[in-house]
């Protein structure tokens, strides 16, 4: 889901970076003003955790690979705005140091994985978990299901960003300038693997990690 440089037109990159900027600014102001000092070590830990979990590439049907992101887990443990910061930090390091995801496309990747994924994940998690107990089966199922839907939505948005390129940007002969695959290829290619495998990995990891923290360190969880 880390869109490299060259697959999206610079115009698309500019629009998507513009879309993610207000969320990043809001998240930065939030952590400066509202984040409790007690939550800083767990924010650092979960940011590192998101980096590491993304290194576990999983084979997907169709010969491609995918991985979990951990964004919904961070929203459940620390809160939605810290999660936006955490995944953004991971994406910036991946792009700058490891060439994983592009520089021009960084705003797009932040929008998909660091804004849409954790904010939607948080909303679904809160909706499903309600006032259930911190380590209750309902809360753990809620965070796992929310993470499954959120990572798939992020993958869908990425697929649409890829897929609109050939229709919007072509040279004089009609040949695509950027991503050569349209929506009819990009959406199934991304979604089959994420719905069937990567999303399941995200849900299992999120549920297990949340359960582990809720059992061992209930006082570390947001709102406890």
């Amino acid at each position: 889901m880390h869109i490299p440089d060259g697959y999206l037109s610079p115009q698309t990159c500019a629009v998507l970076a513009g879309g993610s900027a207000p969320f990043l600014i809001r998240a930065f102001i939030w952590i400066r003003r509202q984040l409790s000092s007690k939550a800083i070590p767990i924010l650092a830990l979960t940011t590192a955790m998101s980096f590491v979990i993304q290194m576990f590439n999983i084979p997907l049907p169709g010969g491609t690979t995918g991985h979990a992101v951990g964004g919904t887990l961070i929203t459940a443990l620390v809160g939605p705005w810290p999660a936006v910061i955490a995944v953004s930090v991971v994406l910036i390091i991946q792009a700058l140091i490891f060439g994983d995801g592009g520089i021009l496309s960084l705003g797009a990747n932040i929008l998909n994985m660091a804004v849409i994924l954790p904010l939607v994940g948080y909303w679904l998690y809160r909706l499903m978990a309600g006032n259930s107990g911190i380590a209750s089966a309902r809360r753990i199922t809620s965070v796992a299901v929310a993470s499954y839907i959120a990572i798939n939505l992020a993958a869908l948005v990425a697929a649409v960003e890829f897929g609109i390129q050939p229709a919007l940007f072509k040279d004089a002969t009609g040949a695509p300038l950027y991503c050569p695959y349209g929506l009819s290829v990009a959406i199934p290619a991304m979604m089959i693997g994420h719905l069937a495998v990567a999303g399941v990995a995200e849900a299992l990891f999120t549920g297990a990690a949340f359960w582990f923290v809720a059992r061992s360190f209930p006082d570390r969880i947001r709102g406890s």
């Binding site: 869109i3 490299p4 440089d5 060259g6 697959y7 610079p10 930065f28 952590i31 400066r32 409790s36 000092s37 007690k38 800083i40 070590p41 924010l43 650092a44 830990l45 940011t47 590192a48 955790m49 980096f51 590491v52 290194m55 576990f56 590439n57 999983i58 084979p59 491609t64 690979t65 995918g66 991985h67 910061i85 955490a86 930090v89 991971v90 390091i93 792009a95 700058l96 140091i97 490891f98 060439g99 994983d100 592009g102 520089i103 990425a158 940007f169 040949a175 300038l177 950027y178 991503c179 050569p180 695959y181 990009a186 290619a189 991304m190 693997g193 582990f212 061992s216 360190f217 570390r220």
Partner: protein, 103 residues
């Protein structure tokens, strides 16, 4: 907290398992891979694909330090440690000088 960091450390040591997945993520192919797939490389893609001037550890791998699985596994683990360290440093930089917040 210490136990969580230890768990994360174990995960980093296991991370080379992530190298075993064959293929590339959809839409993340490099230029050579696109050529191997028989795709005519679009002009814009060619133009912007190598925008980043200096990637320290491209794709968590340094083939010049040995091609074997084990040497690449070490690079992968080192990449994980470097990435984790940078995550922690960046998070603390972002909250640097922040006023104490209750609770």
């Amino acid at each position: 907290m210490k136990r969580l960091w230890i768990t994360l450390g174990i995960l980093v040591l296991l991370s080379p398992l992530g190298m075993l997945a064959p293929g590339t993520a959809w839409g993340e192919w490099g230029l050579e891979e696109l050529e191997e797939m028989g795709i005519t490389i679009p002009a814009g893609l060619q133009r912007f694909s190598e925008l980043h001037p200096f990637v320290l550890i491209p794709d968590y791998s340094l083939p010049q330090l040995g091609e074997s699985f084990w040497s690449q596994a070490v690079i992968y683990i080192v990449s994980g440690l470097v990435g984790m360290g940078m995550c922690v440093v960046l998070v603390y930089l972002l909250v640097l000088g922040k006023k104490e917040q209750g609770k």
